[in-house]
Symmetry: C2
Subunit: 344 residues, 2 copies
DNA sequence: TAATTCTAGGCAATCGATTGCTTTTTTTAA
DNA sequence: TTAAAAAAAGCAATCGATTGCCTAGAATTA
């Protein structure tokens, strides 16, 4: 059992025959302390290996320089990059990040939110989990005076700052690209429709079909195919149809697109000649598959930076001006070999 | 400007005409409170939307149920998986995780350590950054009564709990496998030798050569080739030698191995027939390259679980028994096509 | 019924840093 | 030389929860 007594400002004050308040002032802004005593205090603190107790300071001041981030999983490229972007900015400002994973579970998400709230973080940045019921826990955050920023997967109905990709526009662009390459029967692998990002991607797909006056064929739209395995299964089903698709837009993820590619390989179907494939997210593997996979870059690092900047803007403006602000980060279509029917 | 007053136990106490201490007891262990008042307090707390202020509680009790994790980057498979493993255990125990990235910078690592220490986390779990000078900051942690567990990249000279892979053994295994497949001139891409994991991998490589009485050829050992680009550059250099290698063990990472593969493709060199390749880490892309890449699975999730378990064991035993404990997690060689010279 | 033990609840100190206010000391101005 | 102003330092309350100790009343026992 360790019973280490840490050095406090009282210890320093006692040693120097000063008052703790002077020590505190010397350590912080340096106001109301003479230069000489200030230097003495700093030196002594260093010698005694003094470390501020942030907990005590936070209790007194009521705020701590910490931002909580909740994502479904940190080991997905997109989220890892957003976090990297957030961190770039927060690090500069001297803020700490607390990163939590909801593992796509609503229960866990609620727990994370509560923990962060109990710790009085200044801001919570969240991308909601796929499995959710309601947003009471998020509304609660605001009631406690904690800033809330949603990104990517956002709850539209909630009145918060939001940073999102223009999913619809880029999805439309992707499908238009496929159509102009000569694909006619384009299937869609769609994600859980309770998440708006997936609704938007579907809307983009539909808009592209409409623009080119192509029919919407219900049997070509497959639900919830967002892992490699599910993507593969959906593809098997699609290719077994009487009139199979000649292209698949895996709007859920690149993992799903990978499943499509694997099945095509297996069945000896030529990509992109007989089947076009477009994924989503620009996972690193999409450029090393054979053929490389056309996908969508979400500019995730930029998104992260934007999110963090938004918080500090609000903070520095001193007002909650930006409450219901929506920022769009433009994603980009990355055209690779898997959709180049014409040029082959 | 928000000036939200949060509900405290005093508010609850006042409302119910009770003493805050009773409220606290009711909310926690429930001792010394009658069942009826306890239920009343719980109900009222719920109604008033009371949330405990962990900061205040932590200040009083002197400990918080938080564990800090510092890794070079969270967006590397290995680290993300270790974190996932840690979280699985800590979540069960009701502990929180604070995740920080050092970005391979010593400065940043020190800042992370200090921040976590100031927040009085109960334990710091760290994999040190590649760029480092000394370990004063880590020694300091212990002086402050915070448990310290190192994993993967550890500072040998520091007296802490450590959880590592048996890098040497599995590296030897990998090189032996390549030799038995008929490769004779095996090159090594080595990592920064100030990190013991890379020294160990090199030792395994040397041990394998020795076992098979193969000569150690200095010009086949390349330093610091641990990104895709550096791996590619090193490969170009190696293949331009008068006597080029017939296999490359990219002991630094799979990314490096990917660079090797790309250069081989470019130069029209057949893998595995003319050149064998073995990477390290079992990144997901290694199974979808063409050919798939032989690599080493580090059992990272298991490692994470082990780390967390180690902490709780120490905690529950109540003693610092396990101080200088070393746990080895057995990695596995994953044989794929890139080294199968014989079977082709 | 009286003596004893339990229970429920109250009181107040504590954790360590911060900060408004007051007092003392120093400096400047008259 | 003295009065006024400014700087430096001290005092004490505060943030919110926890906890050792104390007491009044209830329950138990003799």
């Amino acid at each position: 059992m360790k019973k280490l007594k840490r050095v406090t400002i009282y210890d320093i004050a006692e040693k120097l025959n000063l008052n703790p308040s002077s020590v505190s002032r010397a350590l912080n802004n340096g106001s109301n302390v003479s230069l000489s005593t200030r230097e003495l205090i700093l030196k002594t603190a260093e010698e005694m290996n003094y470390k501020v107790n942030s907990i005590a300071a936070n209790l007194r001041t009521g705020h701590n320089q910490t931002i909580g981030v909740i994502v479904p999983r940190i080991n997905q490229n997109f989220f890892a990059n957003v976090i990297a972007g957030i961190e770039e900015v927060t690090y500069e400002k001297g803020y700490n990040l607390v990163i939590c994973q909801s593992n796509e579970s609503a229960d866990r998400e609620i727990k994370c939110v509560n923990t962060l709230a109990n710790q009085h973080v200044s801001c919570i940045i969240i991308s909601v989990s796929a499995d959710f019921e309601d947003y009471a826990h998020l509304e609660n955050i605001r009631k406690q005076g904690i800033s809330l920023i949603q990104f990517d997967r956002v709850a539209d109905e909630l009145d918060t700052m939001k940073v999102v990709n223009d999913n619809e526009k880029v999805s439309m662009e992707a499908v238009c690209h496929m159509i102009s390459e000569g694909y006619q029967r384009i299937a869609l692998l769609e994600g859980p429709q309770n998440l708006s990002i997936f609704r938007q991607r579907k809307a983009g797909y539909l808009a592209a079909l409409k623009k080119y006056k192509l029919p919407v064929i219900p049997e070509l739209i497959m639900e919830n195919a967002w892992t490699t395995e599910l993507g593969a299964a959906a593809t098997k089903h699609l290719l077994a149809l009487a009139e199979p698709p000649d292209a698949i837009f895996a709007s859920t993820s690149d993992f799903s697109a990978l499943g499509v590619l694997e099945v095509a390989d297996e069945l000896g179907i030529q990509v992109p000649q007989q089947l076009g494939i477009c994924g989503y997210s620009n996972e690193s593997f999409t450029q090393i598959t054979n053929p490389s996979i056309t996908t969508i870059e979400q500019n995730s690092v930029l998104m992260g930076k934007t999110i963090a900047q938004l918080y500090f803007d609000e903070l520095e403006s001193g007002t909650s001006v930006a409450q219901n602000k929506l920022v769009n980060i433009q994603p980009e279509l990355i055209i690779r070999n898997s959709t180049l029917k014409l040029s082959r």
